[in-house]
Structure formats: C-alpha cells, structure tokens
C-alpha cells in the first residue's frame, strides 16, 4: 500500500523476529534509571507492553509496505549463511500466507502483554512472565517468517520451554501434569517431524523451503515423500492438534493462565496448520496426496468428536469446565482447517488459512472472556456458574454477557462474522477435491463436517443459554462489568472479527494468489 524501501522491509522483518528475544534478555536485567516506574514489577510489565507494542507496529508497517499486488512473491527476504555444515541458512521472508499470521501473532501477544499489565496473573515474579512471553512471541513469529526447514524446526521447538513454564508456574489446578503432557507430546511429535525434515533435506540436497517448493517434489521419489509426509505430518498434527493426537490440548488449556490459553489457541496451534500448508503441500505433493483422505477423515472425526465432547461438557450436571469446552471446540475448528488443507484445492486451502485467522481471533477473545469471568466469579465450572437457572450474565454484567454471546455466535460460524467464511470454503473445497482424490469420499466428509457445524451451533447456544441468560434474584451478587483495560484488549479482536466477516476479500486477496502459486509449484 505504501512504498517502503526493500532494505527497510528486511530490517523490519528481522526486527520482528529478533526484537522480542532481545527484549526478553533485557527484561531479566534491572531497569535503567529513568525507567524504574513505581516498582520493579510495574517497570518490567511496562517493558513487556513496550516491546510487544514495538513489534506490533513493525508488523503493521510490514503489512502496509507489503506489495499487495504480488502477494505470491516472497518479500522482505533475507538470506544469510549460518551453519554451512548443515546447510542451514537464515532465510526469512513473508508472502500472502505468512503475513496475516505474523500480524495476528504480534497483535495477540501485544494484547496479552497489555492485559497482563493491568491484571498480573498470580504466581512467581512478573519478570520471568514477561521474559517467557517474549521468547514465546519470538519463536512463533520466527516459525511464520523462516524459509529454512531446520530453522523452522528450531522455531517450532523454541516455544516449548516458555509455554511449559507459563503453564507450570502460572497455571491453575493440575498445572504440573498438564505442562508435562503438553511438552512431552509436542516434543515427541516434533522430533519425529525432524526426522522427516532431515529425510526431505538430505534426499533433495537442500533445506531451503523456496527451492524445495519450486522443485515441487520432483527430486524426491514417491516412497521418500510418503515417509516424509508421515513423519512431518505426525509432528504437525500433534501441534494442530488433530484427533486422535489432541489429548494434551484440553488439559493444557484448562490449566494454563488466561494469557497462556489465548496464545496457545490463538497462535501456537497455527504453527501446525501453517506447516502443513508451507511444507507438506508444495514440497511433497505426491506423499501428501496419499495421506490426504486419511487426514480429511481424521479431521472430520475431530470435528464431530470435538462438538460431541463440548455438548457433553455443556450438559447440566456434567461439571463441565468452560475453558475445557473452548479447548474441545478448538479441536473441532482445527478439524475444519485440516479438512480444507486435505482437499488440496485453492478453495480449500484458502478456507483453511481463513479459518486459521478467524479461530485465532475468536478463540483468543473467548479465552480472554472466560478468564475475566473466572476473575469475577472464581470459577469456570459451568454448573457452579449456572446454578439452577443460569449465570444471568446479561443481567449482572451486560457488556461482558454481550461480548461472550458475540464470541459464541462468531465461533459457531454465523454468516457476517469471521468464523463463517473459513468453514464454508473448507466445505466447498471438499465438494470438489483436487485431482487424484476420491470425490465420493470427500463428499461424505463434507456432509459429516456440515453436520458438525450444526452440533457446534448447538453447544455454543447451550453455553450462551446457561451463562448469559437466567433469572436474577435480589440476592445474586452484582458482577463488575467490563473494565477499561479489558475493552482495550478485546476491542481489536471484536473489530477484526466483524471486518473479516464482512470484508473477507481483505484476507483472501492476500492468501489466494500465494496459495495458487504454492499448489502450482512454489513461490517465486
């Protein structure tokens, strides 16, 4: 949109990746004179807001300077030799696929830092919290910006340790076990993924994603592709998470602090689906085609399973935890994303990328809201909240209730909001899957997934019914309504949900050319 010098763009992208790391190191040092603030805690929390804010601004400038006429071209690329022995290069770049995810990550992390500034989670020192948050941001941003397989693996691993500590130190009940489950599951997946990446890199002679994508799997035999897709796919599927490898997710979400849940659902899960699109689709198309029907089948099972689990949790007397419910709904939503990718069509993949962003916005908002609810009532247990008639949030805290209802409606995919387009496009893609894929099978998947949307609507409406509505008596305590900082943290998410719902072209215009290019043989 605006013309920015290429070297400035390069610098901005490098800053986006490295900036948070430097910020994390700086957070551990004592504040310099003049920036001490009221207390060391306040100073370090402000430091977190400043750094994530600067990164967000850099990301927005990147988005503005991005050449929107050629979103399929890699832009702001840097390519430096790092470890010649392993052929690892520091190769950074963004195109229409990674740019939205990059901005989403920067935005969500900034909002989390802002929220933390006003509402510090109970636990050990905020210094460590801020440092871990920044390392986490750097890792996620790096995984969307790097174009080298081994560097992608490095970034993929970089988020594990900070997320582990965020859950284990600042989490709620059962946090130690949940944190272990998270890190051991993901690490097992990612080590298997490393083997697949090495197989690709060693057989093709390069670890560069661009070169590999342009090659489009021509230098890899089909059997190598099949093994590589299986290995890499398992790693990514654990992260996404795909049913039946999802079982770490509900525990991690339930135990994590609010900010941890927001980032886990909003950003970390996207690293898995992004890997499918960026690595597996263009680099090993033949291998992916072999597994696409299975991936789609698992995705559809995930959609139904997630919805049924949510329905079971939403029932009266099920002692369902609201955070757990949203976590299971993530399994369902990510099922749509995986279904879209498995169709191997531009429509489906575009839908998947759209659903990715939408899920990040909406689920991020929902976790924020549930966290706020927990701060006010001290519980996320649906039965405790709802009592006999319902929690009556509309009456007790009308704005909070309204936002929760908005989030739920957006999540169930109401047309006009962000959740709709991604799922619809994914279903469209399944209606007419790519060449070499069985159409009847995908039609079946489509039908089952469509049924899944109904189930999603059902449990979301039950949640709204039980949390927002209900009778208010004289004795029900009033709840504080949305505070100013909460408005500040949530408004961007609400606004973007509406914008993406009403003007999907803003996003699809970016992703579509890049996806077309990717499926046809790699970015230029």
């Amino acid at each position: 949109m605006i013309d920015i010098n290429e070297s400035v763009m390069q610098f901005l992208l490098a800053f986006v990746v490295v900036g948070p790391l430097l910020g994390a190191a700086a957070a551990l040092l004592p504040a310099p004179p003049g920036l001490k603030g009221k207390s060391p805690e306040q100073a370090v929390l402000r430091h977190g807001v400043t750094v994530t804010g600067a990164v967000l601004i850099a990301a927005i400038v990147l988005a503005l300077g991005f050449d929107h006429d050629h979103p399929s071209r890699m832009q702001a690329t840097t390519d430096i030799r790092w470890i010649p022995a392993l052929d690892v290069r520091i190769h950074l770049g963004i195109d229409g696929i990674s740019l939205p995810l990059l901005v989403l990550t920067a935005l969500l992390t900034f909002l989390c830092a802002l929220y933390t500034y006003f509402k510090t989670p109970p636990g050990p020192t905020p210094t460590a919290f801020v440092a871990l948050l920044l390392v986490l941001e750097s890792g996620t941003l790096a995984s969307f910006a790097v174009l080298d397989l081994l560097l992608f693996f490095l970034a993929f691993e970089m988020v594990l340790v900070p997320m582990y500590f965020l859950i284990a130190r600042w989490g709620g009940e059962g946090r130690a076990e949940a944190a272990w489950k998270f890190i051991l599951y993901t690490l097992l997946g990612s080590v298997v993924m490393l083997l697949g990446l090495l197989l690709i890199g060693l057989r093709a002679g390069t670890f560069d994603m661009m070169a590999l994508a342009t090659d489009n799997g021509r230098s890899l035999t089909t059997s190598v592709q099949v093994i590589a897709v299986l290995a890499v796919g398992i790693g990514l599927a654990v992260k996404t998470p795909m049913w039946p490898l999802h079982s770490w997710l509900p525990d991690a979400h339930t135990a994590a602090p609010t900010v941890g849940s927001v980032l886990l659902a909003g950003v970390l899960l996207k690293m898995g689906t992004y890997g499918f699109v960026r690595i597996l689709l263009p680099i090993a198309p033949d291998g992916f085609r072999t597994f696409a029907p299975y991936l789609a089948a698992f995705a559809v099972v995930g959609i139904i399973y997630g919805s049924l689990a949510c329905l079971a949790l939403a029932r009266r007397g099920a002692k369902g935890d609201l955070k757990r419910l949203i976590a299971y709904s993530s399994v369902g939503h990510m099922g749509f994303v995986l279904l879209g990718i498995a169709t191997m069509t531009p429509t489906g993949v575009n839908g998947a990328l759209f659903a990715n962003i939408a899920h990040g916005l909406i689920t991020g908002l929902l976790f924020f809201l549930v966290g706020a609810l927990k701060d006010r009532t001290g519980s996320t247990d649906l039965d405790t909240l709802a009592q006999r008639t319902g929690a009556a949030l509309y009456g007790r805290a009308p704005r909070l209730g309204g936002l929760l209802a908005f989030g739920a409606i957006a999540s169930l995919g109401l047309p006009g909001l962000a959740g709709f387009w991604g799922e619809m496009l994914a279903l469209f893609g399944a209606f007419d899957p790519g060449t070499g894929l069985s159409r009847p099978a995908f039609l079946t998947f489509m039908a089952v997934a469509a049924f899944g949307t109904l189930l999603t609507a059902a449990y979301m409406l039950i949640v709204v019914r039980r949390v927002c509505m209900g009778a208010t008596g004289e004795d029900t305590p009033h709840l504080p309504d949305v505070r100013r900082y909460e408005f500040a943290a949530w408004t961007p998410l609400v606004a973007l949900t509406v914008v993406a719902g009403l003007w999907p072209k803003a996003l699809l215009g970016l992703t579509d050319p890049a996806v077309q290019q990717l499926l046809a043989g790699g970015p230029r």
């Binding site: 392993l86 460590a128 970089m158």
Partner: protein, 508 residues
C-alpha cells in the same frame, strides 16, 4: 664411522618430530615434574602444584596451535612413510583439544576440591595421576597402530582407577575404584586377546595396513579375524560406558571426587569413542557389516539404559545430582555411538565421524559446565541431592541460569541451540545412512531425556526452601571453570558452525 655404517645408523635412529608429539609429552613431563616437586614443596605451598598443572595443561593446549598448518606423522617405519605410529591429523588435533581442554577444566575444579579437602587428598599424587591420564588420553587419538593404541588406553585408564579410589578411608571411594578396575581390566584383557587374533591373521599392527590386508586373509583364518574384531571392540565399548559395560559408571562417579567424575564423563568418553573410531573406521572398514549392526544395537541399548537409569533417580537421595549426570552421560554415550554405527552404512564415513566429533565437543563443554555448577553447589550442600538445587535462582541467579542453559543444551532444546543442532547432525548421519529405526529410537530417547533435564531445570526456579542460605563467595578457579564452559556454550549456540564444521570435512 665408516661410510657403510652411516645409513645403518640413520635407519636405526629415527628422527622424531618433537613438535608433533609435544602436546601429550608436555602433559606427561609436567606430571612427573609435579610429582617430584611435591617432595620439596612445603605444606602451605602445595597449591602451587595445582597451578603448575593447570599451566602445564594450558601449555599443552597451546602447543596444538603450531600443528594446525598440516598433517604431521612421526615414528614411521623407515622406508615406508605410510606406516606411522603417531599421526597429527585434524582428527587427532580435535580430540586432543577436547581431551586437554576437558582435563584443564577438571584441573580447575580440582584446585578448589583439593583446597576444600584440606589435605584429605594427597596433592602431588593427585596431580601426577591426572596429568598422566590426560597424557595417555591425548596420545590415544594420535596412535595409528594397535600396540600404541592399547598402551595409550592403559596410560589413560590406570591412573584413573587410582584417582577414583584416592579418598583415604572412604569405603565408597575404594569400592568404586575396585568396581571400575575389575571391569576395566577384564575389558582390556579381552580386547588384547582380540588384537592378538587380528595380528595373527594379518601380520601387522599398523591400522592402515590392517585395513589393506584384512580383506584377503586366508580362508581358514576368517573365524579368527571375526572373533578378533568383536573382542577388540568390546574393550573400547567399555571405555565409552556402552551397555552392558555401563554398570560401573554411577557408583564410580559418586565414589570419585567430583572433578574426577567430570573428567571421566568427558575425557573417558573421548578416549573410548576415539579408540572405537580408529579401530572400526580406520583399521577395519571392510568389516563394516560386522561392527556396523553391532554398534547400532549397542547405541540403541546404551541410550535407552542410560535414560532409564536417569529417570529412576529420586530427587532426595544422596548424590542424586551426580548420579543423574552419570546416567545421563551413559545416555549421551549412546548418541555418540550413533554416527559411528552410521559410518558403516554411509558412502562417506568421515562425515559421520565428524558428527560424533562435533557432538562430543558440544557435550564436553556443557557437561563440564554442569559438573562445575554441581561442584559449586556441592561446596555448601555436600550431599549434592537434586532437591538441594531447589531455588538456586534465588540465591545465585547467574549460576542457575547457566545450569539451566547447560541442561537444556544436553536435552537439545532451545535456547540450547548448540545442543539442538548437535543432535540434528547425529540424526542426519543416521537418516543419511538409512538407519531409520535407530533414529526413531533416538528420537524417543531424546523425549525421555527431556523429562529429567527439564525437571531439574524447573527445580532451579522454584521458591527456595525456608531459611535463606548464606551466600558463600565462589572461589576463583570454580568461577573460571564455569565461565570458560559458559562462554564456549553460548558462543557455540550463536555460531554452531564452529564445531559443526567437523561434520562437513574430512578429518583423516
């Protein structure tokens, strides 16, 4: 002297390239000098012996520099410059750097340990034994005939037995030394037998000649050669603490003075695997189908056994921190064996060997770092339990951060980038050689190992137990040891190419 006698004398008196043999020689000579000096130095000045030894090791390290310009060989057969007993090629130099550097850090740790022991340990003997063992370990990678190899192996190990048992009147220490000694001697005897079989069937002890001749051995002798190869390997497998020769490790590490445990965990391993590399890749490449599968199986068993042992450590048991490091070093030995096994299947065995060397360098730096921190903590909490590390961040923030970094390097997880990429080279050697099953077993082991490394790391940042411990100032040598290893580990994480380049070039 007659004209006839001159060439005869020339053929009898070898010209020795003293510069090439300088690094191990300096270590040995300084060791002897310290032993003699011990007789004349008064009780108060015994610390000088320690600093002299440290200086000797540093000098030996510096003497590696002039050798960098090219391959040198000495103690060659007259008339045949290809059959040499001592070769200073890149492989030799890297391993000598590792061994002498490891010994130097162990010596720094020892200076404090000896001071704290307050004459509980005989200083002159201690330094003599340490330096002799280091000299043997530095000789080993350079030796290119089986006799020199065995002599070097024994020079490296015999002083180590004595060092382990050096604590007078300590029952555990003597028991550990005895265990170590008996299992080691058995292994050496077995491998000597193997070497004699190989010699009997090929008629030479030079490694490169064995490589040539072993291919066309008389048909009747094939069984003999096979047996010889297997028996020779057994001896070296023991030194790397590979399964099933690993049982001596935990007891020995706990019984030995901590610096010696650190020394054994790094230098002992280096001795074992460099010997293995010389015997397998240099001497017996044509028997790759025998030692390849054997080493692969050994690697898988070793890493699994080591990690299983480490998992079983309870945090409150005495010396559990050292035990954990001991078991984890068994697991790491398994990773070190993977590329050697892969060399059997690979078209380019030198690259695989390079992966082992790169991994060993990384492991040496971070493992010594972890031991150095353990030594520091052990000064105030002599039982060195894992639970003693609880809340270390509160009392010593920098030390705790560094230990966390070392442990994450060992686990191979960012921010320990060098650990991650060292594991990547090992994995890539395995995948490249088509050893997919071994790579998968290693992958599972990496995850298992993460559990105990991360658990320890997490412990550092817990709230400290009540009663804020008094801060003891860290002694200079210990600080130096931690600083050296930390600088190395951090620098390598920024520029992994520094060690990973060995995985890309020919070492021999």
């Amino acid at each position: 002297m007659s004209a006839l006698a001159q060439p005869l004398a020339a053929s009898l008196v070898q010209s020795v390239d003293w510069l090439a043999v300088a690094p191990p020689t300096v270590a040995a000579v300084v060791g002897l000098a310290v032993l003699v000096a011990d007789l004349f130095v008064g009780g108060r000045r015994k610390a000088l012996l320690g600093w002299a030894s440290v200086a000797g090791l540093a000098a030996a390290l510096l003497l590696l520099l002039p050798l960098l310009d090219g391959d040198r060989a000495t103690f060659c057969l007259t008339g045949d410059t290809h059959a040499c007993s001592y070769v200073a090629d890149p492989f030799t130099l890297v391993i000598q750097f590792l061994v002498l550097g490891g010994a130097l850090v162990a010596a720094l740790l020892s200076v404090t340990a000896l001071k704290d022991a307050d004459r509980g340990l005989p200083e002159g003997e201690y330094w003599f034994l340490l330096l002799s063992s280091a000299a043997g370990a530095a000789l080993l990678p350079a030796s290119r005939d089986l006799a020199t190899l065995i002599v070097a192996l024994e020079v490296a190990s015999l002083p180590a037995f004595a060092l382990v048992g050096l604590r007078h009147g300590d029952r555990r220490s003597s028991e550990a030394a005895l265990k170590f000694f008996l299992s080691s001697v058995t292994a050496t005897a077995v491998s000597l037998m193997g070497i004699s079989f190989v010699y009997a069937s090929t008629g030479t002890l030079y490694l490169n000649r064995i490589a040539d001749r072993v291919q066309d051995v008389d048909g009747q002798l094939t069984t003999l050669v096979h047996t010889g190869v297997v028996l020779t390997l057994v001896g070296f497998a023991f030194k790397t603490a590979a399964v099933p020769f690993h049982f001596w490790v935990p007891d020995t590490y706990v019984g030995a003075p901590l610096p010696i445990a650190a020394y054994l965990s790094v230098v002992g391993k280096a001795v074992g695997f460099s010997g293995l590399i010389l015997v397998t890749v240099v001497a017996l490449p044509s028997y790759a189908d025998v030692w390849g599968p054997a080493l692969a199986a050994l690697a898988a068993l070793t890493m699994t056994a080591g990690n299983a042992g480490a998992l079983r450590q309870r945090a409150t048991r005495a010396y559990s921190a050292v035990r954990l490091l001991a078991w984890s070093s068994v697991g790491q030995a398994g990773y070190l064996l993977v590329p050697i096994a892969a060399a059997a299947y690979s078209d380019d065995p030198e690259r695989s060997i390079g992966s082992t060397v790169a991994y060993a360098l990384m492991y040496a730096a971070v493992n010594l770092g972890a031991f150095a921190v353990a030594a520091l903590v052990g000064r105030t909490k002599p039982r060195n339990r894992l639970s003693d590390y609880r809340g270390l961040y509160a009392s010593r923030p920098l030390t705790a951060l560094l230990l966390a970094f070392f442990l994450l390097c060992l686990a191979g997880l960012p921010p320990g980038i060098i650990g991650l990429f060292a594991k990547v080279t090992v994995f890539s050697a395995a995948v490249d050689a088509g050893l997919g099953w071994l790579a998968v077993i290693m992958a599972v082991n990496v995850v298992v190992a993460l559990y105990y490394y991360l658990q320890w790391t997490a412990l550092l940042f817990r709230a400290a137990p009540e009663g804020e411990p008094r801060r003891h100032p860290a002694p200079v040598p210990l600080t130096a040891a931690i600083a050296v290893t930390a600088v190395l580990a951090v620098a390598l994480s920024g520029a992994p190419q520094l060690v990973l380049r060995f995985a890309d070039t020919g070492l021999f």
